[in-house]
């Protein structure tokens, strides 16, 4: 990868802001794209400044026999939070959606919708974060777009990313393949992202010590698939949390998933926040947490491999699949009771008292 001409890298003037001129198609827009986006993201495909990226088929066919493609949009408030920012999120979200489908993510697109008045320096740090996260994940941002909307028509910055990856022969994680006896594994504490966002909004007067789990999962998934290519199903537990993923699994597979509450990893500070607000961490969003269902004879090996990887140190087997009652998720509570874990209606709202 060649770096662009260093003389063209110009830092934004302090306090400079996005204006409608940056979306006009003229010189201001070209400057913005060249100086803020292309110069940070550094990719030969981007630097050509064509209207499309052109990708060599050989790179795909060498790695697998199917393409995977996905897209996701990111509208988080606040833009920066402990453990991440909207840029990191935009890369992780799409990379993870590809990875949990068994694909090796390779290329991303990145579209930015900018609100008039956004500080250019802030945009630059988001773009730098996109670059760093893409580097960590080993993916290339090969094409992009910017639009500017008038003040009030968007909230500072929205990002859309799309991604393409390749699936190796024989790998086919999907919920329908789940069957009785399979084990359920998560790769770490649940609810960190949702709790970090609630914390960062500053409405709670809490101490802001909860960090998002936002991270790319493709390297971890790679290790898991190398240990067991027959992983039945995987999903990253984003909106709606682990509970929602389990509900979707149980429903698609027509099976029952029983979860042991005491086995589910949960940080004390997240648990404390949930206790305070009457929220259920199983429904809180994650951005670097996956749920995998694996055949029983491979469960211990997959778990051990995950724990050796830095994104899976706190992995745990949290449950098992049974035949009945079909389509249900049952939680065995720490207290010794059990309850059905159902889909959430709307968002979780803090309780009055």
């Amino acid at each position: 990868m060649s770096r662009p001409d260093a003389t063209r890298l110009r830092a934004a003037k302090p306090g400079a802001r996005i204006t409608l001129a940056h979306g006009s198609g003229g010189k201001a827009m070209r400057d913005l794209v060249e100086n803020v986006l292309v110069s940070h993201l550094v990719d030969p495909e981007l630097s050509r400044m064509d209207d499309q990226a052109r990708l060599d088929l050989a790179e795909f066919t060498a790695r697998g026999d199917r393409l995977a493609m996905t897209t996701d949009s990111f509208v988080v408030d606040p833009l920066f939070f402990r453990g991440g920012d909207i840029g990191k999120l935009a890369v992780c979200g799409t990379v993870n959606d590809l990875a949990v489908g068994g694909a090796t993510p390779l290329f991303l697109t990145c579209s930015l919708i900018l609100e008039e008045g956004l500080e250019i320096a802030l945009l630059e740090s988001v773009v730098a974060s996109i670059r760093d996260t893409a580097t960590t994940a080993g993916v290339r941002v090969v094409t992009g777009d910017t639009k500017v909307v008038a003040r009030g028509q968007a909230d500072k910055l929205f990002i859309n990313t799309a991604g393409v990856g390749v699936i190796a022969p024989g790998v086919d994680p999907r919920a329908k393949r789940i069957r009785a006896g399979d084990r359920v594994i998560v790769n770490g504490p649940v609810g960190d992202h949702g709790a970090a966002i609630a914390d960062a909004r500053g409405e709670l007067g809490t101490e802001h010590d909860i960090a998002s789990d936002c991270r790319p999962l493709n390297h971890l998934v790679d290790v898991m698939l190398k240990t067991c290519s027959d992983i039945r199903a995987m999903r990253d537990a984003t909106r709606g949390g682990v509970a929602t993923v389990l509900g979707e699994f149980a429903e698609s597979a027509g099976a029952c998933i029983r979860i042991d509450e005491a086995a589910v990893p949960l940080r004390d500070n997240v648990r404390g926040l949930c206790e305070l607000l009457g929220l259920d961490p199983l429904y809180l969003a994650n951005e670097g947490t996956l749920v995998a269902v694996v055949p029983p004879d491979a469960a211990q090996a997959v778990l051990a491999a995950m724990r050796r990887h830095e994104d899976g140190r706190e992995s745990a087997i949290v449950g098992e699949v049974f035949d009945a009652p079909r389509g249900r998720v049952i939680l065995e509570t720490r207290f010794g009771g059990e309850r059905i874990v159902d889909r959430l209606v709307g968002e979780q709202l803090p309780r009055i008292c």
Binding site: D260, P325, E338, I352
Partner: protein, 389 residues
């Protein structure tokens, strides 16, 4: 986690359940039909479902989930009033989170926000007062809701607004009272309750005395309980002991929080700011005398009902709803004609489907009853082997 896990110890739970089971044969009525014990408070209902306490108890004990969920029992007309206030130009309407979704006759506050009203979720009335301070050109209204538990914080906020002379702040008062409501349930002819788990946080404010009449005049044992699962189990255990010993009194399981005389500072604030309404309309239970409070004349300028014109229309509950019978324990939630069909958490018709604390929503969300009740007599259930992780 300290101060949490101590109250969720499964070994102590098993011991309490064993002792409850052993006491049951000594209770005459329990030999003919299941004992019906009402937990009044929505917070208790939430804990019971969240930890699966109902399935842990022997089948001879039925928990009846009472009307103590302030979000649930709010009549549609009051929600319409909220929406009307929220939609006034220049108003910032502030509310606790779980009141946002309660349906009015036309829309909820969540829908009003989507339609353009400035509705904001707050965690405390003091946050609403802060908004008023920060937005002097806007009228900030706080949707005050809840039993005696939340009354003092609203009252103290009104007193603070007066002290600071904040003109653009008012509250829409929907506070309701516990004791007249329990009395209305006890007076209802189809009532067949055998005892009460009384609300711990209401009692923290009002003390033990207001509940004496339940034991003395109605002959029903009552135990004030906390909100952790062991608190509730111990509360049930104490009720069962009273019934087995043929005692009938007010007992306090939640002594670590509830003092016999309550909280005098909280009570002072309540008496300074509020007076009883002659009656208040409840969803599911109809009108109950003296079951609500309003702001006293001295603080009228902080009373949204007087400051703005509020439509104040009465909207009847949907006729098919059987919330009242469920609340009194006459039928179980799933026996209601519309449960799970016309009435679901997505499209609630009745009070009890509205909030996660409502009995019907809790049953709907947390349990398919056939499945769970079948397990009840084999409390060990199916446990899985997690291997040597």
């Amino acid at each position: 986690m300290k101060y949490v896990d101590e109250f969720r110890d499964p070994a102590i739970a098993r011991q309490l359940i064993r002792e409850i089971r052993e006491s049951l044969p000594r209770i005459d009525v329990a030999r003919q039909r299941p004992l019906q014990l009402m937990e009044f408070c929505g917070g208790h209902t939430h804990t019971i479902f969240r930890y699966g306490i109902e399935q842990m108890l022997p089948g001879a004990i039925e928990l009846v989930h009472g009307p103590g969920c302030p979000v649930c029992v709010l009549p549609m007309g009051r929600v319409d009033d909220c929406v009307a206030l929220a939609e006034r130009p220049g108003v910032i309407f502030t509310t606790f989170g779980d009141a946002m979704r309660v349906p009015g006759s036309k829309k909820s506050l969540l829908q009003a926000r989507a339609d353009g009203a400035d509705v904001r979720m707050v965690y405390s009335p003091m946050d609403a007062l802060g908004l008023a301070r920060d937005n002097p050109d806007r009228q900030v209204i706080f949707f005050a809701l809840g039993f005696e538990t939340t009354m003092p914080s609203t009252a103290l906020t009104v007193l603070a607004a007066e002290r600071e002379d904040i003109e653009n702040f008012s509250i829409f008062c929907n506070h309701i009272t516990t004791v007249p409501t329990i009395k209305a349930i006890l007076d209802s002819p189809d009532m067949q309750l055998d005892g009460f788990v009384a609300p711990g946080h209401v009692s923290m404010v009002v003390g033990e005395r207001p509940f004496q009449f339940i034991a003395k005049d109605y002959g029903k044992p009552i135990v004030i309980s906390g909100f952790e699962p062991l608190d509730i189990l111990q509360g049930v255990w104490m009720l069962v002991k009273q019934l087995a010993d043929k005692r009938c009194e007010v007992e306090n399981q939640y002594a670590r929080v509830v003092r016999p005389a309550g909280n005098s500072a909280g009570l002072d604030a309540i008496h300074r700011v509020y007076e009883l309404r002659e009656f208040f309309e409840w969803r599911g239970l109809g009108s109950i005398d003296h079951s609500g409070v309003r702001i006293r004349d001295a603080y009228a300028r902080f009373d949204a009902e007087r400051k703005f014109s509020v439509p104040n229309l009465r909207i009847a509950d949907p006729r098919a709803c059987q919330c009242g019978e469920v609340l009194k324990g006459v039928i179980r939630p799933w026996q209601c004609k519309v449960f799970g069909g016309a009435c679901t958490p997505e499209t609630p018709m009745g009070a009890l489907m509205v909030s996660s604390e409502g009995a019907c929503a809790a049953y709907y969300n947390f349990g398919n009853l056939d499945e769970l009740l079948q397990r009840r007599d084999s409390p060990d259930g199916v446990r899985f082997d997690r291997g040597s992780t």
